[in-house]
Amino acid sequence: MTLGLSLGIVVGYLFLALAVGLVAYRVSETTAEDYYLASRSIGTVVLLFTTFATLLSAFTFFGGPNLAFAAGPEWLIVMGTLDGVLFAVLWYAIGYKQWLIGNRNGYVTLGEMLGDRFGSTGLRALVAGVSLLWLFPYVMLQQMGAGEALVGLTNGVVPYWGGAALITAFMILYVVLAGMRGVAWTDTIQGLFMLSVVWVAAVWVVSAVGGVGAATGAMLDARPDFGSFGGGTYSVGFIVSTAITIAFGVTMFPQINQRFFVAKSGETLKRSFVLWPVLVLLLFVPAFMLGAWAAGMPVDVPEGANVLPVVLNEYTPAWFAALVIAGAMAAMMSSSDSMLLSGSSYFTRDLYRPVVNADASERREAWVARIGVAAFALLAFAASLFRPGTLIEVGSTAFSGFALLALPVICALYWERTTRTGMIVGVLVPQLAYLAVVLSAVVGFVPTLPRTVAGGWDVALGLMALSALLTVGVSLLTAPSAEGDASRFAVAGD
């Protein structure tokens, strides 16, 4: 009975989210600009929440509490620093600049912007290809998170693959039927919903265990090491490299980067920037502390389940636990939609049209996009069944892959002397190196290359430095190409 109720709430909520998306689709126009960017008309609250909700993924929602449960509440510091502060600064340095440039020249994707500036279809396709490559593990992460969430919620009655399949089906349905406007609306609703519900959950659980002091006390009794800052997993190297790679990586995520083009006005970007640290904290404190406090609670987290659903099941009524998980899954669905949608625009605009078929009709392009999304999501689903790592590991891999794009892009945005060859080398070489590191762990017959060195320092951080060195160095050694036009990136004057 309880099981039926839980599943009914989860599936019902997902259908509700889908319905909101469809309403949004009805009122939207159908040009590509509208489909992808909601006609650049997104206001502060919606921009804030739509960006926020794309960060509201399984990584934050299940991966974060899991890590806090296993290794301590320092994860709150890592995520707060990278998301609340470093990302906000990059929001200005990369986001506002891109918004100014995009507004002048009508760009919709990062690849389009760079390809136009450097007069290079190759660079455009390269940036799109790299982005799609790292989007893959991140979409897979949502499917893994959903699978593990339902295992936790139903005590293993729903198998892991069932939850993963459920969210895959909704992802595809949703993105095929609605566009960015649908996503932006539902992101706002879901962002607000999740923020409230996480607080209700935290208050509920904390009062059940006797207050914040008692929860922390029990946590410290069980895991005395959780009380002191640092130590264990959280070495200096881990904290610094995780914060830097994820924050830079986030800015290059297709769905986040595309948000930089959608703001209605500069004011919108400004207000979002100011509110960002507080908003991030409001979500992370209850979510991650629940994970850490769970270490001192008499709960039994089954192998391969997420800690949050288990805690909720123990201390809150079944319907409420189901509602939180449903909300989290809907938020993940919405994040995945944004990712898939942005991914599909990268695919059609930067790869399919310029490289494969320049004369494709709009209708044909729209179909290519939809089929591409479905195929991408299905492949990610298949890969998610192998569960190649924890949620945090898979997520960090994707973030680091994206982070390697960030410094060449910053270089292009701020340094006129950047050349096409400099960009291509600066993007390509570190990507190949990182791909070798990542694949060596997956492919059986080659030696596994180390992911971290000297006590937790991520090799991706070194490769980021390499990407900057190569972009600058090769640019200095090569002449700007005739097709390049630095004035495309000017933001003042005419």
């Binding site: 510091i77 507004n103 800052f229 904290l281 003042a492």
Partner: protein, 94 residues
């Protein structure tokens, strides 16, 4: 257009805000204050400080000057017109 010299102060300010969002001085400290480890309170207060300073940065005009625009000047206004379709007509895409 020209950046006043005091705008430069924002660069080290941002660097400090990022660097000390991690409570490095409390490394290894395990005191619990008001129910939570004290370093969590540091972080919460620090992010509050970030929002206050970010808001000063955004309102002071340094936000626009940092990109070479005049605060409230044409660079921003034109874009802020809200007529989103206009600048992006899309006809001249490569």
């Amino acid at each position: 257009m020209r950046r006043p010299r005091r705008d430069i102060v924002w660069i080290p300010t941002f660097a400090l805000l990022v660097a000390f969002a991690v409570p490095w001085p409390l490394w290894g400290v395990d005191r619990v204050v008001a129910g939570l480890p004290v370093w969590i309170w540091w972080h919460v207060a620090w992010l509050g400080l970030c929002t206050v300073l970010f808001s000063r940065f955004a309102r002071s005009g340094a936000w626009e000057r940092g990109m070479g625009l005049r605060p409230g000047g044409d660079g921003d206004d034109r874009a802020a017109g809200g007529d989103a379709g206009a600048p992006a007509a899309g006809g001249e895409r490569p």
